[in-house]
């Protein structure tokens, strides 16, 4: 690909949001906002969700207190030697829908993934004051480069589905579901998205 034919995206002007964030910050996020996330997120995808909910069912403590945290639906590819992580883009969020209301009840501040959420998840987000953001599907190399540190938290035997603690810097994300109950994908479909 000729380097002359494409320009790197100008992301520096996007507002930076520190993660995890409290209710005041969540209240300031509106559906359609394009932001950069910097801070700590915990990873989880299908197996992690299944196991977290099994622990809750059994009355056992979770490997990490999810209260106030942001959960990123990702199963990174293995890191080459000397690298923090491989590719680390979002996986499709709806597969987590069956488990998400249980985790929202634990005080989760929000989730990061891609694709629309079910009506029960959206209701639970409203009830618990959580937001949902999407990052860019299929941009795993770009997003992996936004990960500055990675440590194992739990479920190592689940391989790519293990739970990790990631330190991210400037990870681009779009707010899909805000505290006002708006859904950006729906706004796009209805032609209601803000211009510019």
């Amino acid at each position: 690909m000729s380097m002359l034919r494409y320009q790197p995206p100008l992301l520096a002007s996007l507002p930076e949001v520190a993660v995890p964030f409290g209710p005041e910050v969540a209240a300031g996020l509106a559906a359609g906002d394009f932001v950069r996330l910097t801070g700590i997120v915990f990873t989880g995808r299908d197996q992690t969700h299944r196991r977290l909910v099994a622990l809750l069912d059994a009355g056992q403590p979770l490997p990490v207190d999810l209260a106030g945290q942001l959960l990123y639906y990702v199963g990174p590819s293995p890191a080459r030697p000397g690298r923090v992580v491989g590719a680390a883009g979002p996986t499709t969020s709806y597969r987590m829908d069956a488990y998400t209301p249980r985790l929202l009840a634990c005080g989760l501040a929000g989730m990061l993934g891609k694709g629309a959420r079910s009506a029960p998840v959206r209701r639970a987000m409203q009830e618990h004051g959580a937001v949902y953001l999407a990052t860019i599907g299929g941009a795993g190399a770009f997003l992996g480069a936004c990960v500055k540190a990675c440590t194992l938290v739990a479920f190592a035997d689940a391989g790519p589905e293990a739970m990790l603690r990631l330190e991210v810097k400037g990870l681009p994300a779009v707010v899909i579901n805000d505290l006002a109950g708006r859904d950006y994908y729906e706004m796009v479909q209805k032609g209601l998205r803000p211009t510019g």
Partner: protein
């Protein structure tokens, strides 16, 4: 990749007049294909993304396409997979009638997948459908073997991510549904998929045959160079019509709006039964990885 890189294509006792290819040659080729496919997007997909970037107004959609282009550049330069979902390995093999593989061809391919995913630091995503236990080496690959004329062995490698695969479907329409029924079903599937399959997508459509043939046609439609129309004019016209409608009513880049829900629609057809009209839709994400080699 060429034969020189892969070592000599000889060894073993074959039938007279047949070209012999050693299984180690096949394994080495598949290993290379797996690694290259994960890291380097083909020029056809890069061209399509550049065209999509130029088509979008400045704003969210255009910025996201710019990120996708930068992603491809980082992946290739840093040897990081384009997408962390390095897929289930789908391998299409055409074995020439004048070629003989000295050994177990299928086992050689599976070994190539095993080595490629391990040595390329690619994610092992294959698990048991019931226990969900990961096989650990991304095997087994899904193999499609075909016998063709000639003295060549062609291997096409399509690592298939399942964010998009999960949005695929087969319908057994009544023949009375006609072209309108086909168009409605395909567009409805892409619309329902929304942002899940990482648009802009490539839409593979299989039309005709039987239930399983339609699905395989849809998958093999993804192997055609991007945007190259079907040789039959009426089929090409239908591809164009489907693409226009999908982009007019669709979700846009990543479901975030804009003009590009699909980069292309590829349709493959096959005669069907007088009572039947099978239609399969196989959706592929913009991280459309495909590599091939001829031995």
């Amino acid at each position: 990749m060429n034969e020189k890189d892969l070592g000599p294509c000889s060894g073993g006792a074959g039938e007279p007049g047949r070209r012999i290819i050693d299984t180690s040659t096949v394994t080495a080729a598949v290993r290379e294909l797996a690694i290259a496919a994960a890291h380097d997007l083909e020029p056809d997909i890069l061209e399509a993304l550049l065209a999509a970037r130029d088509r979008e107004e400045p704003g969210l959609a255009r910025t996201v396409v710019e990120i996708l282009l930068q992603n491809a550049e980082i992946a290739s330069r840093e040897r990081i997979p384009v997408c962390q979902d390095t897929g289930v390995a789908v391998v299409f093999v055409e074995l020439g009638s004048e070629v003989q593989v000295a050994g177990d061809l299928a086992a050689a391919i599976q070994e190539g997948v095993r080595q490629g995913y391990r040595d390329g630091y690619l994610r092992s995503s294959v698990c048991d459908p019931l226990t969900r236990v990961n096989s650990g080496d991304n095997t087994p690959a899904v193999l499609h073997l075909a016998s063709v004329a000639g003295d060549r062995l062609t291997i096409r490698f399509l690592p298939k991510g399942c964010g998009s695969e999960n949005m695929s479907a087969v319908a057994m329409l009544p023949p009375a549904a006609g072209v309108e029924g086909i168009v409605d079903f395909v567009c409805q599937r892409v619309q329902a998929a929304g942002s899940n399959p990482c648009p802009p997508v490539l839409v593979g459509v299989g039309l005709g045959g039987t239930f399983e043939k339609a699905a395989l046609l849809a998958k093999s439609a993804l192997l055609r160079p991007l945007g190259q129309p079907h040789p039959r004019p009426d089929v090409a016209a239908l591809e164009e019509r489907l693409l226009a409608r999908i982009n007019a009513e669709g979700a846009g880049v990543q479901g975030l709006g804009g003009r590009t829900t699909a980069l292309a629609v590829h349709l493959e057809i096959f005669p069907t039964h007088i009572a039947s009209l099978p239609v399969a839709v196989n959706i592929q994400c913009h991280a459309h990885r495909h590599k091939e080699t001829v031995l």
